[in-house]
Symmetry: C2
Subunit: 227 residues, 2 copies
């Protein structure tokens, strides 16, 4: 392994750069709970442990950080994730035995569970959904991924509280009841139907699709779409 060096123009010395990766906190709703997609590592370091899917930043392939995150999503999970959002950067010495100093830029996304093909991905022997709230300090994840998962969950929950709806995750057309159930699953608590709907139409986020109804066991429900 050769350390990459850059000239420090003032001192004339060169400095090695950190081993830089992208990590993805892909969240979804599984059985009514907010869940995160983890992969079991098939190689050292942390072989056999569960970890966020991720990959090395490729400066020859990635135009910028967001593009790097999309590429990693494609390679590891076989899925397009247009609604990725940066979570934060973590870096330090001894984070990763592959390098003296490792830096990770973590991204988060909400996805529909059907959109993930569990067979896809290299270097992971298995992919599995874990309920976010059962990933505790006891769950022995690789690296420092436990913190990242909770930060990602906190970020999406804060967005939902503010009624910033995850349109990248929602179906194009849905009923208000489905939307409420989805928000309740993310937040982990019940919402009041009346105030939920009032907040929604004050914000003019959705419009009814004329004539289109979801027909089920009981009274049909109006379908809505974005804007």
């Amino acid at each position: 392994m050769v350390d990459s060096l850059f000239e420090d123009q003032a001192s004339g010395r060169s400095h090695p750069m950190p081993f830089t990766r992208i990590e993805l906190a892909v969240l979804s709703i599984v059985e009514g709970n907010l869940a995160v997609l983890l992969g079991r590592r098939s190689e050292a370091p942390h072989k056999g442990k569960w970890a966020l899917p991720g990959g090395v930043l490729r400066i020859d392939l990635d135009r910028d950080l967001d593009a790097a995150a999309r590429r990693v999503a494609n390679e590891r999970l076989g899925v397009e994730l247009p609604y990725l959002r940066q979570l934060r950067a973590v870096g330090g010495a001894n984070r990763d035995p592959r390098a003296p100093w490792a830096l990770s830029i973590a991204y988060r996304a909400l996805v529909a569970i059907e959109s993930i093909d569990p067979k896809a991905g290299k270097r992971l022997e298995a992919l599995r959904w874990f309920a976010v709230d059962e990933v505790t300090g006891d769950t022995r994840l690789a690296f420092d991924h436990t913190d990242l998962i909770h930060a990602a969950a906190e970020a999406v929950r804060a967005e939902i509280e503010r009624l910033e709806l995850p349109f990248g995750f929602l179906p194009e057309k849905l009923t208000l009841g489905e939307l409420q159930t989805c928000c309740e699953a993310i937040l982990g608590r019940r919402l009041d139907k009346s105030s939920f709907r009032r907040r929604l139409d004050e914000r003019r986020l959705l419009v009814p699709v004329p004539g289109e109804m979801r027909t089920g066991a009981f009274r049909p429900a109006q379908l809505y779409r974005r804007r």
Copy 2:
């Protein structure tokens, strides 16, 4: 310049790593307005332009990202900044002519204006405070620092709205009037005295220091300190 390479364990190939820097958005209140500290670059690239102070990440010196930011604050500004908070990472090709791909981890901090020694720092021919709201697209800053400055201002304003007080910035003892004036300067709008104080003591953030009063031109004011 030698690119630093890391082994890609699956493919057997090595990858060059990005040129990685720390940038600091140091904010304060200058003449009643939220202001950011910029340095005039004395060297290429962007020689002569104003930019956020920053420095190269040194994996031989910095234990982690937060430590790197504190070191850069020390070296460039000659000041200890214990209340630095990570803002975000930006990275891409062609961001910085010194390297094919440049990554910056931006930090933000609020500081008391007196704590900055404007003489300090290498590689900057001048340091100057700019009112945040006068840094627009027209102000031709180096790199992509205009965005970072506005994101930093937005972050501190959101904290003040939520009454998360910047104790690293505030004097140990202060009057409620001084605190209100300070918050008004950061937010750029007036606050109601009565509701400001009610919110403060609901949250139990401050306690009066018995007997200690600020005596001035008019009625003396009770001094308060944290918690």
